[in-house]
């Protein structure tokens, strides 16, 4: 075998600005936290608000992460994504009500076990619903964005009405498991136990998703598929199966997020998923379509900003997230960490 002509290729050395540019979005979260620390007069209040914001952000991330992958990989605008949140919450809460003995017991192990069972049931139910949703509602409208918006909105309305048929039209109030009620005191700040659990679950899910996407072959296929699906197929991979798998996983994650969010709010309604969609869209857009890391950072920014602004200037809390979206898009029009550039 003959070798190529001798040459020693080098890559042009990027200047400092170019080298730090990819990391800038990751610096935004500590930057917002630092700004909060300066503006909020009491350190304990800042700590409480920060944990609350991180918990909220983690739950939004869980609900939104599936949508960003579906958006990036399948080029599908799924306005019905919120329905998986509602169904997940209802299924999860139903399981928790059936396991009332375990949730009422003053045992952290039994409480967490009940939550785990509820989350598994919600993820299975919404994963199955996601499969049916993709087959029946999304599949006929691949490649047609306007139809996708209309038909997935229609699907959302139908499933919401089915929730009302099955569980009734009233709001359902729920109590958190016994050991997750109340707060722990740290450095003079009251930190709700449930929020700490939400932070831990969100972080664990993010790290798991990152591992799968970065370190496994299926993750490689998904990342490559987000960028150039046609080429992935030309290599021999059946992207349709990957599409369905991602849609099901995204739906299951939304269901899981629905259980977490329901317990966070301590009330669930058939429309809760629909109400979350604005925040989810903001997170997906500012994160960059198809980017799990961008979605994670975006969700944390939304959660932190909402909590800080609500404390400092309650009236401004309503527009804080829209303001964040405008600012991010003016800085990076394709989102913080764009993966899909050409669609």
């Amino acid at each position: 075998m003959s070798a190529a002509p001798e040459h020693a290729p080098t890559m042009a050395r990027a200047n400092l600005a170019e080298r730090i540019a990819p990391w800038l979005p990751m610096l935004l979260v500590p930057l917002v936290m630092l700004t909060g620390l300066i503006l909020i007069p009491s350190g304990s209040s800042w700590l409480t608000l920060t944990v609350s914001g991180l918990a909220m952000g983690m739950m939004i991330f869980i609900m939104a992460s599936g949508m960003t992958l579906v958006f990036g990989l399948m080029d599908v605008i799924n306005f019905g994504h919120g329905v998986f949140i509602s169904v997940g919450a209802f299924v999860g809460v139903s399981v928790l009500l059936m396991l009332a003995g375990m949730t009422a017991a003053p045992s952290l192990f039994l409480n967490l076990l009940a939550m785990l069972l509820a989350i598994i049931a919600a993820a299975l139910a919404t994963g199955a619903l996601g499969w049916a949703f993709e087959r029946v509602i999304v599949k006929p409208v691949y490649g047609a964005h306007l139809k996708q918006i209309l038909v997935t909105m229609g699907g959302l309305i139908v499933v919401e009405q089915l929730i009302i048929v099955l569980w009734g039209p009233e709001e359902i109030y729920i109590l958190r498991p016994e050991a997750l009620k109340g707060a722990v005191t740290f450095a003079g700040a009251a930190l709700e136990k449930y929020r700490l659990v939400a932070v831990a679950v969100g972080l664990a899910l993010f790290l798991t998703m990152r591992f799968v996407l970065r370190r496994t072959k299926i993750g490689l296929i998904v990342r490559a598929g987000v960028e150039n699906g046609e080429m992935v197929e030309a290599l021999g991979y059946r992207l349709r199966l990957v599409f369905i798998g991602v849609f099901v996983a995204g739906s299951a994650l939304a269901g899981l997020g629905g259980v977490m969010w329901g317990l966070y709010q301590e009330v669930i309604t058939a429309h809760m998923g629909q109400q979350m969609m604005i925040l989810i869209f903001i997170v997906v857009i500012i994160g960059g379509l198809g980017s799990v890391e961008g979605c994670f950072i975006g969700a944390l920014l939304v959660g932190l900003l909402q909590n800080y602004v609500a404390f400092l200037e309650p009236k401004a809390a309503l527009i804080s997230n829209i303001g964040l979206m405008v600012a991010i898009l003016m800085w990076r029009p394709q989102g913080m960490i764009p993966v899909v550039k050409a669609k």
């Binding site: 046609e230 290599l235 021999g236």
Partner: protein, 241 residues
């Protein structure tokens, strides 16, 4: 002519309202390099994409190794042993060079001996193994694109303008690699605008015009006749020397 590995019979392909291929008939002999030549816009890329299943043939047969693949999905065609290097290279720029190669090894881990062969053919890929493919130069991206198709043994390679916009030194690297691929027994259907490269690599040649094959024969015959080149492609060999 040896037994053809690929035969197109009366293939018609439409893209939206445009009738791009209008009855393409061609053969790719087994173990040979077949050049697909013609002016811009005559349907060369569409022919490759139709064979690969990216665009569906409206009519006609695409016979690969004795089987009609016209209706098969792209992944099935790839898994039958067809490697594809598209005109835009199809590099996954968010992935590293290593990840691009690992992804291309569909049937399992990359064979170490084959990887050594690829590194010998394209040394920059070893240098930038852990770098993001999006940071490579145009020539390096093209090397990666071809290396990705070579990472597993294929029966047929469809390669669309691999030398477009590349420096002469890199073109010779490409040509050498393709020649070695042929020596290993692979068949290649190569779209090429650079006539010198076509002349050096091609065993047989198919010239297209207006969505049809206007001439096919031995590459040496076309290379030897300035009149034929002028008539078929509007160029003379001297212009490319």
């Amino acid at each position: 002519m040896s037994d053809p590995i690929l035969t197109l019979q009366g293939v018609y392909t439409d893209i939206a309202q445009y009738h791009i291929l209008q009855g393409v008939d061609l053969q790719v002999p087994r173990g040979e390099v077949t050049m697909l030549l013609g002016r811009n816009g005559v349907g060369k890329t569409t022919t490759l994409r139709t064979i690969m299943g990216h665009w569906r043939a409206k009519a006609g047969k695409v016979m690969f190794d004795g089987r009609d693949i016209a209706a098969l999905p792209t992944p099935a065609i790839a898994r039958m042993g067809v490697g594809f290097v598209p005109e835009n290279m199809g590099i996954f720029s968010d992935l590293t060079v290593e990840e691009n190669m690992v992804l291309a090894a569909v049937s399992g881990p990359i064979d170490a001996g084959r990887l050594d062969w690829i590194f010998a053919a394209f040394p920059p890929l070893k240098t930038f193994w852990k770098s993001h493919a999006g940071n490579l130069s145009g020539g390096q991206k093209q090397m990666l694109s071809i290396a990705r198709a070579m990472v597993e043994e294929r029966q047929l390679y469809l390669i669309d303008e691999p030398t477009k916009g590349l420096a002469p030194a890199i073109i010779s690297t490409m040509a050498r690699a393709l020649r070695e691929l042929k020596q290993q027994g692979a068949s290649i259907l190569l779209v090429e605008q650079n006539f010198s490269v076509a002349k050096a690599l091609g065993d047989s040649c198919v010239v297209m015009d207006d969505g049809r094959v206007s001439w096919s024969g031995a590459m040496a015959e076309l290379a030897a006749s300035a009149e034929l080149q002028e008539r078929l492609m509007g160029l003379s060999m001297e212009a490319h020397q």
